[in-house]
Symmetry: C2
């Protein structure tokens, strides 16, 4: 029983200055976590219990699915990450250090390499597969902007699993098993979530989905179709635009367009010149970008921005993507800044990638590759031909669902899980092979599956808390019942303790506010802030042989006879 | 149920090349741990279960004692460790790193500072005390020589507790509570251990004891009195030598002693000169040392070496202690190397520390501070006076027990726990104060208490394993019962599974060897190597409706009727 008279807990009346989101504010105020450094938190007793409850749900579901738990160190030698190139690729997000002999180490941000090597060390035959192994472990990422308390920390707890199969069909089965186990986990954790398509290009895998917990302060944006249920993160949203018919479009016409440095000024001039009807959507933006040092041109409609993150994920394998700087233009003098069009792209040797909205057969107003000149009637397929199509433009609410054409909505969420068909990338880099039925060596195919365990605590807090405090689902609350003893007499305190003991005897965890020096008002406020699902008040009603039972979530209150207290509470929790 | 047909486990027939101790050898061979780098190991499924079993015993005993669990990050900012000077003091044993902004961090080797700051953040009154809080957490130490597998690793799991009290009497109570809780822990873990006095001088505390698990390959040496039970680590052994009576000793006599560079040659010369009777124990060694850059002279009997570790711990607060090098002698030309005696020490200004064996009133043969000359009848208190006495000489089996004068024995052990009255050192450095009953600010007094959790797994393996394998106490074995199904028919496999299910239904954990492609011999060997306490063989005896039940520890075997199998096993485990 957690007794507040001795519990290492001091709730705070004021919000912490650096807290922007509800979970951060409330977990600090209710005494669950404390900040040690940017993105680095310690857990007080209530936090430890809640975190462990979440961990246990996840562990049980993993075990239930037949996945086996292992445990890796966080301090890892450089070599394996060198072999997969991630020692470099991680850039400044990787914590690197040297030991006393000057050997390079890192703090593991994720353990694909280590799991691959572990299986390589133990297994050698197709008969050993399939295998799914997992760990619940502390991970490290030196985030550029750690924020939102434990939602985006630099040290955090993660459950990471990896599956190993002899072929793609096996991987598909392992992937589906993980997906099912994740559904069970998040259901038991009482979370609202959407399973959302994600881009898998960059990792070389073939399939990837995210579990997103909708939440207005979430950092992830995703697309949801209110009709057919299609869901994708913004990066994985697919744009389906039919080809245009340009058979009746006049020939390309170059226009003198002085003083049109912006899309708006160009549209204004066009409307002035041709009597109206033009909008920004009729113009074509030709954005010059540097992708790992190689210039590319990206075409999007003039009324949309390029979404660099979305573009990068869809390009796959690009580590640095940025817009052209003055120095880049200086190196490509044939590009007339502000007046670039795709018509002469072939000459420059620069690849042209078009967003799907710039569909074949569509006609545009674009730069004419000549200062102070634009062109109209610039037709895709006639006047220019993109080298490839790639999702590049920002996604907006109201865009069309690729499945059913309904207007999609855009929502915010916290990513709580990610499942991923890795394929053979890591197994190849680290030579994980097994002998197949014919005695031939085969590269193993892998999946990688993560749940943010500490983040889930915050995500649940975000989704369930209200204006008065935290509000946990029973499965993960620090205690199922919070008993408040009030008054100055011994009787309510003795009675509260007695009820608590009876509840614990029947397997129901209890937190008991047995503080003699705190007022009833302070105790009620603390109980609401801490957020256990059932609050029992032992006080005035005791004169009539009754206690008050409150349901934290609904606010429902009722007075019940002392003798019925335990059974009433058990029923409410059932 | 752990089924070996799918368990992620490959036992090894051969010992790993780098394994010097039994626990290391067997934990690797039986598939519990794997080496990742020097002193850094991963845990396979059997290892994870065993480690968690040990963790749970410790957690239950801590909770039982009323200590509250918290959890700190391993990645810690430099500042707090700077305030207590440990950022420097730890030297190369501390893993240090920088984040992307160049701020200094460390990987926590122990968390005194962080716990002190946590309590400072929450508490402010004497009414809040006493408090004991703990964590079970991953720690990092960049050991100069990581070895013995998980016994001395660089990443390891530790339970560390800290107590906070208003006064010394309170600290004494908290200390005793921890001591009792440790006794319960180690008893439940089935360990043999001695509680041994340790030196607490260096840390500024007042009392300190170690829990040592006797083990022939242990790195710690300790002293044990077979009569009264006195136990101390070698550093904390106390030498009681009565004062001598030198009233009849002749006056100091300087002798010409050419060609006596060693104690032996000196003793030979003396015996030649004076007709025998002299031994090395009659001579006085005057060892010149550098203690953090300050020269000191240390006197020990000529038949004993200086134990530098012992001396350093007893000096307290000295970080580097080494013998004089040529360069040091060069800086002190008054010291006649090879012929130094304590007689003229006052002149040199160098402090003279005497081991207690060099008692007041005892007479010695020492150097005469002149090349090729020694002196005899050099009396402590007449011809020289040490500035202080300090335990400096090596301890030997047969030395006298300080309590009862019996000859002590010396044994080896693994340190599995350490309890420590820290006092006010950390609270002072980090300004942890509370208001006392009179509203006056008081510095809190602290205790610090550690158990090596991962090390305990190895220590238990050391103490319980035999020539055929691991041999766990039931409380921490990966499974309580290991069922081996043999033969080619389905019947033994089906029967084994059935027994397993019945055992698990009655709360007894089971490992089932249901491999179809392994021989009975391989299965028996694996069962013995893995070390679960009860082995059940389902095979030939099945024809008579029987199974064989073996007790791993005693080797006792008996055939029992199928119907009695579960109850027989339950009785054996009770």
């Amino acid at each position: 029983m957690l007794k507040m008279s001795t519990l290492f807990l001091r709730t705070l009346r004021d919000d912490p200055a650096d807290a922007e989101v509800a979970s951060h504010r409330l977990l600090v105020r209710a005494g669950y976590i404390r900040r040690i450094a940017a993105g680095i938190y310690s857990w007080l007793p209530l936090g430890v219990i809640t975190l462990r409850n979440v961990e246990n749900v996840i562990r049980q579901e993993m075990d239930q699915a037949g996945f086996q738990e292992v445990h890796f160190p966080a301090l890892l030698p450089r070599e394996a990450y060198e072999a997969t190139n991630r020692w470099e690729e991680y850039g400044p997000s990787l914590f690197r250090l040297q030991d006393r002999r000057g050997a390079d180490y890192l703090l593991g941000p994720t353990h694909e390499e280590m799991f691959t090597l572990m299986v390589k060390g133990e297994y050698s035959s197709y008969k050993d597969l399939p295998l799914s192994i997992y760990q619940i472990q502390t991970k490290y990422r030196d985030e550029a902007r750690p924020r939102s308390g434990i939602i985006r920390g630099r040290e955090f707890v993660m459950k990471d699993s990896y599956s190993f199969d002899i072929d793609d069909a096996g991987l598909e089965v392992s992937y589906q098993k993980h997906r099912d186990a994740y559904v069970s986990c998040f259901n038991r954790l009482g979370m609202k979530y959407n399973i959302v398509k994600a881009v898998s290009g960059a990792m070389g895998g073939s399939k990837s989905e995210e579990f997103l917990a909708p939440c207005s302060t979430g950092e992830d944006t995703y697309v949801l179709c209110p009709k057919c249920g299609f869901a994708a993160n913004v990066e994985a949203m697919v744009t389906k635009v039919p080809a245009g018919d340009a058979s009746a479009t006049p020939a390309l016409e170059v226009l003198n367009t002085p003083n049109t440095p912006t899309i708006d000024s160009l549209v204004d001039l066009m409307n002035e010149k041709f009597g109206g009807g033009y909008t920004a959507a009729d113009t074509l933006k030709n954005i010059m970008l540097m992708a790992d040092g190689t210039p590319i041109a990206v075409l999007v409609p003039g009324d949309r921005e390029v979404d660099l993150k979305r573009l990068q994920e869809n390009l796959g394998g690009v580590h640095e993507l940025r817009v052209f700087e003055e120095a880049d233009f200086a190196k490509h003098p044939s590009l007339v800044k502000g007046y670039i069009g795709p018509q002469d792209a072939a000459k420059s040797g620069i690849k042209v990638l078009a967003d799907p909205r710039v569909a074949p057969g569509t006609a545009w107003i674009s730069g004419a590759n000549k200062k102070d000149h634009h062109a109209r009637y610039v037709v895709n397929g006639r006047d220019f031909t993109p080298d490839a199509y790639v999702e590049a433009a920002e996604v907006r609410a109201g865009d069309s669902c690729p499945e059913c054409n309904t207007e999609i909505i855009i929502d915010r969420a916290i990513e709580i899980g990610h499942i991923f068909q890795l394929g053979r990338k890591y197994a190849e880099a680290l030579s994980l092979t097994v002998l197949d039925q014919n005695g031939k060596s085969q590269v193993v195919t892998m999946g990688s599956y993560g749940i943010g365990v500490s983040r889930a605590v915050a995500a649940i807090a975000e989704q369930t808390s209200d204006e008065i405090g935290l509000n946990w689902p029973a499965e993960i609350a620090p205690a199922k019942v919070h008993i408040v003893a009030t008054g100055k007499e011994d009787l309510p305190f003795d009675t509260a303790l007695d009820i608590g003991q009876k509840l614990e005897a029947s397997g129901i965890t209890v937190m008991l506010d047995d503080r003699r020096d705190a007022s009833a008002g302070v105790k009620f406020k603390d109980a609401e802030l801490i957020g256990n699902p059932i609050i029992v008040v032992v006080g005035k009603a005791l004169a009539e042989g009754k206690v008050e039972v409150r349901v934290r979530k609904s606010g429902d209150k009722s007075e019940v006879l002392l003798a019925d207290a335990v059974s009433t509470i058990a029923k409410l929790l059932a």
